[in-house]
Point group: C2
Chain length 447, copies 2
């Protein structure tokens, strides 16, 4: 066993450069903690960089770097799901441990990648893939290892949270804030992944698997973005004591005695949460994850969800864990899962096939905005329909008419199965007195 | 290597019973995650308990249980610093790994206990000793392992936070809330450890060591309780946009070019923090720790700081970590520190002797409440003294006279070295127009 740990970095963009900088800045700290010299021996980069230590080999053949004899751990930070996958599989095949920040790749191909890693007895570590610098993977896999997770709710996309924060704080429109986020570099030129919730869904898929011990099932995440959120709804929500946040939820449902309804809800959507919940005060590009587990109860983890420093911190935390694995002489024992943390928190053959519920089976509270002609009986009609559908009303706010003769009615409901709500809304929209489609946003008390 | 992991629990109070309950509740979860059967083989308890599984040996000879051949891991949850210490040393000597929730014992004797454990090549795990169920030890030792910690600030005593929360929310007096906390079981009959900050100082000593890689130095923690906080100051603080919380701070100071001032501040005291800081919204018996590290930036960890479930969660997280160590065949190698997390986060021979600063050397902002006769020139006198002492004023609030002819003047200052502030306050108190001692509370922007 050599005393130094040799790293290769694939990709020298923002995150790759952040890792180089971290190692330069904290070299002494890393050695004092690990007892080892942690050195970058090679970087895989298409374009030669003159500002990199000349002792570090720069290789434009990334596949060669991924398999280099002079490397213990391969750090993949090029992103994407094609070349990145080939590189990781090649590194694994060559007995390298891998650290990656690639949420999309793992959410979509993680089951295959982790199985391949187990076959080759190496680890694929991915702290940086979810919530940036917040150590939520370590927390869920290790710190909460003795708990049964009941649900989690997370602000896991910084761009979306920045937009929702600006809309509320400054009364700005969605489009206006999105443009600024793009200028600030928070949002991509094509913001689809962020504002449609796909990025959050990638992260949620990973969180849900390690929460419940289920295989990765990104394709089953119900996903709703924030493009439809208007300032009007943001303000009505505030008036009622709630705040709209874009959240990912993973919830275990026991099915209330009916096994066919038991399963896991995986959903990303705008959500009204109580203003006095800590999560409601997580603003700007910050991320946060709230986990409710038994017997611990609720714990919250908050910090920067992106950026060079935060991501490099998570990447290097994985490296520091792997240093301990590399220090353990029997780390190459086959089939000995007892001395490392399983990729998905649970021993691979112990993953469960608990079903992921379809959207219509999911249970949440709702915020409804109904526009009606200001005629007698309209409120009675709406409340009767909800009551007949077994939907309990928690609050009603009837605003003065803002168009001639039309009144917006805001209704908050207690939790109800979506299929029931769909029927009730259909019935409401069929009323003669209703002028528009009913606007609905989910609501969660986080209790 | 047997497939089961055998635990002994020393003490069956609230926490010990919580551990028994957790294992009963989450048996399947523990096995699915660890691949091992985790069983309690023996409990050390003075009083026989009829409600415990008859397969578990109940032993009133706790020293015998601590050394039992049928035990891999000893969980010490009896508390105190005398018998608990003997039991832990005895367990270590007999090659047992130890899990403890005992902050007082570790803060006062941790250096000796950890050295003894290293000598005998066993681990003493202590997640439950700080902030209950919040995994702050794991986070700081492992998740932030690649960072350089700059400072941390924590609400690490639930009783104190409950009292401060109730005073602010309900306008109640300190004594009134303390009585209720005692009735609710949040505070001991002798509340000294909680309200004088000693419990928080124990935890801070542990956090500071793993943040900075210094030996435990509980005796050097500056410690101020909340018994002197009045409703008046709580309200003035709120009026100025701040909230008073009882916090523990560990801060690395570079000494501004002067090495004699470089060192670490360890201090527990009431503190004004901005109302819009997340930490200001951590209410009731909740705990939270805010860590500022490079390059990660600020991360916050929040949850229950006490109680059977939260503490059992932390104890069993340690057990789950030890299960992996026990699964590693070379865990008995001497002097191989590379494959386990060092007790104090840094390799023992890499601990630094950075000095702990004396109170007079510490730098903080201040809230000052000065009572003066309402005579011309008094404000000019006060501000001149502060200005002459090089103290910058951030805000002033002059309230209408509440006693005949006397006005309270509230002043917020920018950070200043305590020795400077001491001199300025002495000078202010010597003014003829000043009627009372100056009240001072520290202030931190958490920026």
């Amino acid at each position: 066993m050599s005393n130094s740990i040799k790293l290769a970095i694939l990709g020298l963009g923002t995150v790759g450069t952040g890792v180089v900088d971290l190692i330069n800045d904290n070299l002494d700290e890393l050695k004092r903690r690990s007892g080892r010299d942690i050195i970058i021996t090679e970087v895989g980069t298409r374009r030669h960089r003159d500002d990199i230590d000349p002792n570090i080999v720069q290789n434009s053949d990334l596949m060669a770097t991924a398999a280099s004899d002079d490397v213990d751990i391969v750090i993949e930070v090029i992103g994407g799901t094609t070349l990145a996958k080939d590189l990781i599989m090649h590194a694994i095949k060559n007995g390298k441990h891998v650290v990656t920040a690639n949420k999309a790749l793992l959410a979509e191909h993680g089951n295959e990648i982790f199985a391949f890693a187990e076959e080759h007895n190496v680890h694929v570590a991915y702290e940086a893939a979810v919530a940036g610098g917040i150590p939520i993977i370590k927390v869920m896999r290790e710190a909460l290892a003795a708990n049964k997770v009941e649900w989690l709710a997370g602000i896991i996309n910084g761009t979306g949270n920045f937009i929702m924060t600006e809309m509320r704080d400054k009364g700005r429109s969605f489009d206006d804030v999105l443009s600024e986020a793009q200028e600030l570099g928070y949002a991509e030129a094509d913001p689809t992944f962020d504002v449609e919730g796909i990025d959050a869904a990638h992260k949620l898929a990973l969180l849900a698997s390690i929460a419940f011990g289920t295989p990765l099932q990104f394709d089953k995440v119900y996903c709703e973005g924030i493009t439809g959120i208007t300032l009007q709804d943001v303000n009505y929500a505030e008036e009622l004591g709630y705040r709209i946040k874009h959240l990912g939820f993973a919830v275990r449902r026991d099915g209330a005695g009916n096994d066919s309804d038991a399963g896991i809800e995986l959903r990303v959507h705008p959500t009204l949460i109580p203003q006095d919940a800590l999560l409601a005060s997580v603003n700007g590009v910050k991320n946060a994850v709230l986990v409710n587990s038994h017997p611990l109860g609720q714990t919250l983890y908050c910090g920067d969800g992106a950026g060079a420093g935060a991501t490099a911190s998570a990447v290097m935390a994985d490296v520091m864990d792997l240093v301990r694995v590399l220090g353990s002489k029997n780390s190459t024992d086959q089939n000995n899962h007892s001395h490392h943390v399983p990729h998905l928190a649970f021993i691979p053959d112990q993953l469960s096939d608990t079903p992921i519920l379809r959207a219509e089976q999911m249970t949440t509270g709702y915020y409804l905005r109904v526009h009606a002609y200001d005629s007698p009986g309209v409120l009675a009609d709406i409340t009767r329909i909800l009551s007949d559908s077994g939907i309990n009303i928690d609050a009603i706010l009837q605003k003065p008419a803002h168009k001639v003769g039309q009144v917006p009615v805001i209704i908050l409901t207690l939790p109800v199965v979506e299929s029931q709500m769909n029927l009730a809304i259909k019935e409401i929209e069929e009323l003669d007195t209703i002028t528009d489609k009913v606007v609905r946003i989910r609501l969660d008390e986080l209790a």
